[in-house]
């Protein structure tokens, strides 16, 4: 744009040719420098509050470092060696992944079903959409409190109901798997509706005539769902999975508040990795090891991210059966967006917003 803008101005002054006036030079400077000035705050702040701390975490992890006493001896990778042999660390990782799986898989299935139900010619659309989004406005802390109460072992609502059906009370806090289910339920309750809406948006960008012709060809509603709807929303599905992964592996609030006294249960049966990090840093006051845990978790999340990226790339490349929606999206996307697509899963998925304008006329009702 700089160039196009420049031209007419230059043309006008061409007659009087000689040196550019101060004003013109100022103008050129304005044009060249402004873009950098506009993006500078982001990059500077991000470097300060995002990148630097992450890098410094690595630095700290190489030292004996105490919360109060501060920097101690340089120990190299000893912290890493110790943390990798620490069974509490592996325990926390197991719990994190277990809770993540128990929360993500049912949540995605449920969200897809809800989205499919909402993707019909409903009365009072907005009401139903709002009703499934309601849990999203309850903060995780409040969610944790409500569900901690409902999952109480002695007087909890759920055990009360179970016992009135003659079922033995479940030890929601003391047993590993039940505690994971309880925590996953908190996550699921808050996020299912939210993800359902994202999937609904993807479903609505599938042109209806595809369904029409499939129906004429004799495809039943189940067949249409599995052969048209699901393939079409796959890119969005990847996006939902990626965000669920990045968030899910950093889960803290729910397990922290599920047992307000011990950090993650008396036998660490639901201590997640961030919770262990927190315990290491602020209760055991070992900043060196806590930083090591942070850095290892960072690597693990990155690993998950790369795996996700590879999967989403495969979906993107062998995508003959991808829905028309994503194909259309691809056509619309500019070169920069295509580049963004390559840059990573997040981008691949977030290009979804670019497709939104097509779907708004319909979804707006």
């Amino acid at each position: 744009m700089t160039t196009t803008l420049n031209r007419p101005a230059a043309g006008r002054t061409a007659a009087t040719k000689p040196k550019p006036t101060f004003r013109q030079r100022l103008n050129v400077f304005d044009m060249k420098a402004s873009p950098y000035l506009y993006i500078a705050p982001f990059f500077i702040l991000f470097a300060l509050v995002g990148l630097f701390p992450l890098g410094y975490t690595f630095f700290v992890s190489l030292f004996d470092w105490h919360l109060l006493k501060g920097q101690g001896e340089f120990v190299g990778f000893q912290n890493f060696a110790e943390v990798l042999q620490d069974r509490f660390f592996w325990n926390s990782l197991f719990n994190t992944v277990s809770i993540f799986l128990i929360s993500t898989i049912p949540q995605l299935i449920m969200a897809t079903i809800i989205a499919a139900v909402l993707d019909q010619n409903l009365r009072a659309k907005t009401f139903w959409r709002m009703s499934i989004l309601l849990p999203y406005v309850v903060t995780p802390v409040a969610v944790a409190m409500i569900f901690t109460n409902m999952f109480g072992e002695q007087y909890g609502l759920i055990n009360n109901i179970l016992s009135s059906f003659g079922i033995d009370p479940v030890m929601w806090k003391n047993d590993t798997l039940p505690s994971h289910i309880a925590i996953a339920t908190m996550v699921n309750w808050r996020w299912t509706g939210y993800n359902a809406l994202i999937l609904l948006a993807a479903m609505q960008s599938v042109p209806r005539d595809i369904y029409e012709s499939a129906a004429i060809d004799g495809a039943g509603s189940m067949r249409r769902f599995f052969s048209i709807t699901l393939p079409s929303i796959r890119p969005t599905m990847v996006f939902v999975i990626v965000t669920a992964t990045i968030g899910g592996l950093q889960i803290f609030t729910e397990p922290r508040l599920f047992d307000p006294v011990a950090a993650g249960g008396t036998a660490r049966q639901f201590q997640t990795t961030v919770l262990y990090l927190w315990e290491m840093a602020f209760q055991r006051q070992n900043f060196g090891k806590a930083s090591t845990i942070a850095w290892l978790l960072f690597l693990i999340i990155l690993l998950f991210g790369i795996v996700n990226w590879l999967i989403s790339r495969r979906i993107a490349t062998n995508g003959d059966d991808r829905g028309a929606a994503s194909r259309r999206r691809r056509q619309r996307s500019s070169a920069a967006e295509a580049k963004a697509d390559d840059a990573g899963l997040t981008a691949q998925a977030v290009t979804a917003p670019a497709a939104a304008p097509d779907s708004t006329p319909r979804s707006g009702k």
Partner: protein, 300 residues
């Protein structure tokens, strides 16, 4: 799905509003879904609402309600007594004020910087634009939350622990915000508009101010809404840098539960009180929230 299937069976028996007729013309089916669909929707609604309703029930009774074999279905009359207990236990109003202040500052900052940078990426040409944009996208995948230890050390060195500033600083800007604004602005502002503003002699910043900013408003509102929500619900960081005497709503709420003997009627009364502000926001801006999510807004 169900609708297409039923299409030939019966002409839509209900009101012929205009939207319905256009729909019919467009998609060839005006058939409304059946009871099964609405049954499911009601089930979803109950699943969404019941835990909240349960917190109202318990929050308005006393702890004994929990022992009853058949759970009560209606609220009791103890709500304000319990709320009084909440006020006695934690500095509720201070926490509410802190949360409003923190979330407000973060929202203004994120929306402002993101709009500025998003506009530059969407509409201005400059050297390195593409790879800088890729850098922004790449940073979206970095879990910055894991940098809490150096950030905590930094805040302690600066002597800011316990103060609002310590909570605000790490979230003044997000890569997602920049990306979101760029995606929106790239389509919504015609290049000609910017060019003509420039030809009329407007400086870059005044072009931004008079052309880009008005066009960006809808996206700014959505980004603001989600940034506010994210800041409001944040728990780990404020827990680390603030102390019990100067909490946010979330950390204050968690204090209710950390007592040795947990009185759930008080805890849940607190949860209800803390949910009310966002519930109000939901009633006012629920539609925007929905359209924001459906346009691909991302959870924080």
């Amino acid at each position: 799905m169900t609708l297409t299937q039923n299409r030939p069976a019966a002409p839509a028996p209900q009101r012929t509003s205009r939207s319905l007729t256009t729909r019919k013309a467009l998609f060839g089916n005006g058939r409304r879904p059946g009871f099964l669909t609405y049954g499911l929707l009601i089930a979803f609604f109950l699943a969404s609402a019941y835990p909240l309703w349960w917190s109202v029930i318990i929050g308005s009774r006393s702890n004994e309600a929990l022992g009853e074999t058949w759970p009560p279905l209606l609220p009791g009359g103890n709500f304000w007594t319990n709320v009084g207990e909440v006020f006695d236990t934690v500095p509720f109003w201070l926490a509410l004020g802190n949360s409003v202040l923190i979330s407000g500052i973060i929202t203004i900052s994120v929306v402002g910087f993101s709009t500025l940078a998003g506009y530059a990426f969407a509409k201005l040409r400059f050297r390195g634009r593409n790879w800088l944009m890729v850098a922004v996208i790449a940073t979206m995948a970095i879990p910055t939350q894991l940098g809490i230890i150096p950030l905590f050390m930094l805040m302690r060195t600066l002597g800011w622990t316990g103060e609002i500033g310590a909570v605000v600083i790490p979230t003044l800007v997000t890569a997602f915000g920049v990306f979101f604004m760029r995606q929106y602005l790239v389509d919504v502002i015609p290049d000609e508009l910017i060019e003509s503003a420039r030809m009329d002699g407007a400086s870059m910043i005044s072009t931004f101010w008079h052309v880009a900013l008005p066009a960006a408003r809808p996206a700014m509102a959505i980004l603001g809404l989600f940034t506010f929500m994210t800041a409001w619900t944040d728990f780990l960081w404020p827990l680390l840098v603030l102390d019990a005497g100067n909490p946010t709503l979330q950390t204050a709420l968690s204090q209710l539960q950390s007592a040795r003997y947990v009185d759930y009627s008080i805890v849940l009364a607190g949860a209800v009180m803390a949910t009310l502000p966002l519930l109000a926001l939901f009633v006012l801006a629920g539609r925007q929230l929905i359209s924001g999510i459906m346009q691909g807004a991302v959870k924080g």
